[in-house]
């Protein structure tokens, strides 16, 4: 995944001189998750800019450079640190096009690493994709596979509006096919059906797609059940058509996400499924998500706090 992300940035920088990157430790250090390694050498410190630890400052600077015609990518080391920059994202990046009556636009790509599971404790294990998806004006991208990551990130650089591009730390090492084609773009708002079946629809994004996938394996191996597995790929825009038409076939759905369940984005998906497939539902839509607790450091507790494929299987069995 890491290489696919790097390749997308590299290709877009080669293609368009307006693209530049900035962030904490993206240069000499090579990026805290090594996504930008090598780019400083190739493009130099003007276009691969190391910054002080000033998230609000650099996101705002990205907005400013975007207003002046550049296409900045600002890397926020992890989603946890986006909280100190949230005002810039919400009150500036997402709203300037609207508030100016369409006069300006903000082609800004914000990349950030997300997710728990590495025993980093409560301040460093957030999954806040859903929080960003709540704000009109933002596009929120959450790839689950390297090929999609590349195509979606390249597409993000073409977007005239701000894109929040969220990478799950557990997936950086993930392998998969990645098209070489420098025009391989994946469109926003198009979910992908990564597996199909008849008994239940499993819906995920980012890391949780893999839990859905493994749960589907377990369901078929251990219980003779087959599942549609839907990878949303972007959660704003959200491709509910794919979800709804699947649920109308399978009559059951489980939505899976890492984030806390209470007030999480799975509630939106569940509510929309109810709204649009009520008469087809044989059971309430289930949500399998993070437990409502600050992330513990202890490994067992952390494991218990995160949703697992077993939890998904259990939720499916409970609705039969």
């Amino acid at each position: 995944m890491r290489e696919a992300i790097r390749e997308a940035m590299r290709e877009e920088m080669l293609r368009d001189q307006r693209v530049f990157l900035m962030g904490e430790d993206i240069g000499a250090y090579g990026g805290s998750y090594a996504c930008t390694r090598g780019l400083l050498d190739e493009f130099g410190p003007e276009r691969v800019r190391d910054t002080p630890i000033s998230e609000s400052g650099i996101v705002g600077a990205g907005v400013g450079a975007a207003l002046a015609g550049f296409i900045p990518m600002v890397e926020i080391m992890t989603i946890n640190f986006s909280l100190v920059a949230l005002d810039q994202i919400v009150n500036n990046a997402s709203k300037l096009h609207y508030m100016s009556g369409g006069q300006v636009n903000v082609p800004l790509v914000l990349r950030m690493a997300s997710g728990g599971g590495s025993q980093l404790g409560a301040t460093h294990s957030h999954s806040l994709e859903g929080m960003f998806a709540h704000f009109p004006g933002l596009t929120v991208v959450c790839p689950a596979f390297p090929g999609d990551a590349k195509g979606l990130l390249k597409r993000s650089f073409r977007e005239p509006n701000p894109v929040v591009f969220i990478e799950h730390t557990a997936l950086y090492g993930a392998r998969g096919e990645v098209p070489d084609d420098p025009e391989h773009l994946v469109e926003f708002g198009q979910a992908s059906m990564v597996r199909s079946g008849t008994d239940v629809t499993l819906v995920g994004y980012s890391g949780s797609v893999h839990q859905c996938y493994r749960a589907a394996d377990m369901l078929s191996a251990e219980h003779g059940l087959t599942a549609d597995v839907i990878d949303l790929r972007t959660i704003r825009p959200l491709d509910m058509s794919t979800v709804v038409s699947s649920v109308r076939r399978t009559n059951r759905a489980v939505v899976v996400e890492d984030d806390w369940k209470f007030g999480g984005f799975a509630g939106e998906i569940a509510a929309q499924i109810m709204e649009r497939a009520f008469d087809w539902l044989d059971a309430p839509v289930a949500r399998v998500a993070g437990k409502d607790v600050p992330m513990p450091y202890n490994r067992n507790l952390e494991y218990a706090a995160l949703p697992s494929e077993e939890d998904v299987v259990e939720a499916v069995l409970a609705m039969l």
Binding site: G60, N92, H97, M99, G101
Partner: protein, 337 residues
């Protein structure tokens, strides 16, 4: 002029008679426009928060006239004066305040968010200090583009309390970006006196980032103009940012909703005696650049323009409900762009 640290000493051209006329005209226009706004607010034509600029005209007019057309401006929510000084049509500003389609922002933005991209007026911002990092980004863009335009960032003394002040100044300083920071220190952030807000003078704190930093009389348009010229010359030459603290005063409350419990009428009267418009008028008369007749003609001209702005705004339709979802995002047109 107090100086935070050594600054260049060459001064730009002193403004000639025509330019002084222009300053006077613009200050009068702003004064009259703001008074009309107050009236229109009372009559319910303008709504929401309305922060008037009366008393501070010399800042906008002096600073913005020093800019080139390709320089970019961002400012705070007390922004009518800045927009007018930048040449944004009064008609379109008033229409925006009336929330009409003929407004600068098609009625979406309102008083605190005036934009006019055709004049590189990149907006009024309503989150205190929230636009300061944007100015840093504009400076970065100027640098990356290799062009010699600059960014002017106008903000209030209250904004200096926010962390973004620090982040924005620091980034601009370490990257040597062409940003002129212009602090309108009107003595109050809402009702909190400046002296209770910051541990030192603004320009001294700014000087600690190793940029030239000066304190000027923000009620003297000629001083503001010349200080900003100096600042722009400095930043255009690649020397990094420059900081100006302009001491000024707002005659009205913070916004139309302000009960003004925190200051006395006497204090306001004291400042009115140093009125920037009166001062320029007097000096121009003394220098033979103006007489009472010209002056009255100017007043009549701005009166007419402001009346015309109200008429224009009133005649402009409200945006239709079908346009509610317009402008949330700019449409993607593939790689045509």
């Amino acid at each position: 002029m107090s100086v935070g640290q050594a600054i260049p000493t060459t001064v730009g051209e002193p403004p000639d008679g025509d330019l002084q006329q222009q300053f006077l005209y613009e200050m009068l226009l702003i004064r009259r426009f703001e008074e009309k706004c107050a009236e229109m607010y009372t009559r319910g034509k303008i709504r929401g928060f309305l922060h008037l600029y009366t008393g501070e005209e010399a800042c906008a007019v002096g600073a913005i006239n020093a800019l080139r057309a390709d320089d970019k401006i961002v400012t705070h929510y007390r922004d009518h004066g800045h927009a007018l000084a930048r040449g944004v049509e009064p008609n379109r500003i008033m229409a925006e305040l009336f929330a009409r389609v003929g407004g600068t922002n098609e009625g979406r933005g309102g008083s605190m968010h005036i934009f006019d991209v055709s004049r590189n007026f990149l907006g009024g911002y309503a989150i205190v200090a929230g636009h300061m990092p944007i100015a840093t980004g504009l400076g970065l863009a100027a640098n990356l583009s290799g062009e010699d335009w600059a960014a002017l960032c106008i903000f209030g003394d209250g904004g200096v309390g926010e962390g973004e002040f620090h982040e924005a100044l620091n980034l601009a300083a370490i990257w040597k970006l062409p940003v002129v920071w212009f602090c309108e220190n009107n003595g109050y952030g809402m009702g909190v006196p400046f002296d209770d807000s910051l541990a030192n003078d603004v320009y001294k704190i700014a000087a600690s980032y190793q940029m030239p930093s000066v304190r000027i009389d923000g009620m003297d348009v000629l001083e503001v103009y010349s200080a900003t010229q100096l600042a722009l010359a400095h930043v255009r030459e690649g020397n990094g940012p420059y900081f100006i603290e302009a001491l000024t005063y707002r005659y009205r409350g913070h916004s139309m909703a302000d009960p003004e419990l925190y200051r006395t009428k006497a204090e306001v009267e004291e400042y009115r005696k140093r009125d920037a418009i009166e001062r320029l008028k007097r000096s121009m008369i003394a220098d033979g650049l103006l007489d009472e007749t010209n002056y009255q003609a100017l007043v009549a001209r701005v009166d007419a323009e402001v009346d015309e702005a109200v008429a224009f705004a009133d005649a402009s339709p409200e945006p239709g409900l079908h346009t509610l979802y317009d402008h949330i995002t700019k449409e993607y047109e593939g790689d045509a762009e």
